[in-house]
Symmetry: C2
Subunit: 334 residues, 2 copies
């Protein structure tokens, strides 16, 4: 095996990404610049938002240049610190891990992970970006209230599995949309009242109507596509749609998304469709993490991981997550 | 001419309505029931929302049954009152005027018009539904702030002409989209900074970008259709879209609206698309009317009417308004 196996972006994906969009190169140990840490990678996170990073299309953050090191969220152990705030041996999380065995991250992006509170990789799932996304999209953007029906797509995924459980804890009425019967069954175990397998449904609009007899008050949209349409056509007056992710567009990311437009439905229901980006809620992360970790400690919040092994697995894990072949939060363990 | 010429809905419109969807019948003088007023019609208002009333599609209010009397907003003089609150000779406004020379309206729907404050028909334009719609959609749903760029479609129409002037009065930066060069020029006279003729534009996305060099903060969408797309593709981070009307769908009202879906754009900008219905703001009508009438008295709010003459003209006036052939608030004077 190479000294520092590292995944380099070779081509932008058109349609569904494939592991061929990257090439595994043997790089030397990174030089540690000012304001950087050298890290031995322990965990990498692959998440839907990273689809936008390997596209030349305009996005909310800059993409990765061709020939550049692929980056994403990760956890690892500090090997060399150029900062008084971090010591060798500290376990840190950052959104700027390279997909490599040894990597550098900007000190400003790194936070120490409390290794006693929970398994360290929890900082990449329910105590991290997906958990916080579920928390704020449901409670702030979606503004769900007790008794309201909350429809959640990609319901067993990293965000959906947490959102459904928060909905149950808060006394909302959560309904799952997922891509296999096994995922739907697991969602019910988590506390979703019922669920729909969108891959076997022959009439998603009718199936959402049947699963939500009081209509949909809040839709947490992790997918876009036809699932969005089925939710919109069942939306209640003053309904709220939080646009959290668009994973159904993963294979047509650089094309305009053409389909039903729901402006008239929006007018009729006076519904609100609102885009969600976690960064906007940074001031409230700490309070949310207190809730999430106490629910976990109380045993009312479960989490499921789907772990691929080794740096070699990274692009494969990413692509299977985009295709919905994972079951639970997709991670790569080194 | 007939004793009480009345327009009866003969068929639901498929595509663009035509005067043939109604038939003019000679009805006898209406019987005045309990809780009703008999009114001699002076003015009828034709408004885009009425397209939804002549369709079997689901809407926010019930449609008019085939064979039923066409109804809409109007102003007239009380001939017979079955209520102590109204006397013969009072001039009243109601949303439930029949399209007929003499009509009955429910007492609960009627309000006395102050005939000294302004021309009576102002209660159907800047002091009524269109003016209030402009006021609340811009200031509440759109939540425009000083200095922000406000893009307004159907900008010279009943709602748009008032919204653009409120935007100017409040120190926003209003930009018009209208359907003729003459309308665009008049919008500039009203105080819109600039404007776009969407019928002659060959690249509406680029033209909106050029007219809004700081991007679009608030879009008052009176049209839907390609104008909506052009606005969405120029929307700023945290932009707001108030879906006020969908007149561009007037000729395809009963078909699903297919086109660009802007979920990813919503996510990237964290924009909010929200449906608007005036009724939701009823508690604040009085305060808004104080503003609107004082602006008019100060001479900073102008209004333009397009008046058709006679009950015979009602469906023709309605259809020309739907086609954008009117210039200013379309009224029918009896």
């Amino acid at each position: 095996m190479a000294k520092n196996p590292s995944w380099i972006l070779k081509s932008y994906a058109t349609g569904m990404p494939s592991p061929d969009n990257w090439v595994l190169e043997d790089l030397s140990m990174p030089e540690v610049g000012d304001g950087e840490l050298l890290i031995k990678t322990m965990w990498l996170s692959v998440d839907p938002y990273m689809r936008g990073r390997i596209s030349p299309a305009k996005n909310y953050a800059a993409g990765i240049p061709l020939g550049g090191l692929m980056t994403g969220g990760g956890i690892g152990e500090v090997v060399v610190s150029n900062s008084p705030d971090f010591q060798q041996g500290d376990v840190v999380i950052s959104d700027y891990f390279g997909w490599q065995a040894f990597t550098t991250v900007p000190v400003a992006s790194a936070k120490i992970v409390d290794t006693k509170q929970a398994p360290v990789q929890a900082a990449l799932s329910y105590l991290g970006m997906p958990g916080l996304t579920a928390y704020f999209s449901l409670l702030k953007t979606g503004a769900a209230k007790e008794g309201e029906t909350v429809l959640i797509s990609a319901a067993s995924g990293a965000v959906g599995q947490i959102a459904g459980q928060i909905a149950r804890i808060k006394g909302f009425d959560p309904v799952a949309i997922a891509g296999t019967d096994a995922k739907v069954e697991w969602c019910k175990e988590l506390g979703y009242r019922t669920g729909i397998n969108h891959r076997t449904s022959t009439d998603l609009v009718a199936d959402v109507a049947a699963a939500c007899p009081n209509g949909v008050d809040v839709f947490l949209d992790n997918t876009a596509g036809p699932i969005h349409d089925a939710a919109m056509l069942n939306l209640n007056t003053f309904g709220r749609v939080a646009v959290v992710g668009t994973i159904a567009l993963a294979d047509k990311f650089d094309q305009p998304d053409v389909g039903l437009r729901h402006l008239r439905q929006t007018l009729i229901t006076r519904a609100r469709i609102e885009g969600f980006l976690l960064d906007d809620f940074e001031a409230d992360y700490d309070a949310a993490l207190v809730d999430l970790s106490s629910w976990y400690e109380q045993g009312v919040l479960q989490t499921r991981e789907d772990v691929a092994q080794g740096i070699e697995a990274a692009p494969y894990a990413f692509v299977r997550m985009l295709k919905g072949e994972n079951f639970g939060k997709q991670l790569v363990e080194l």
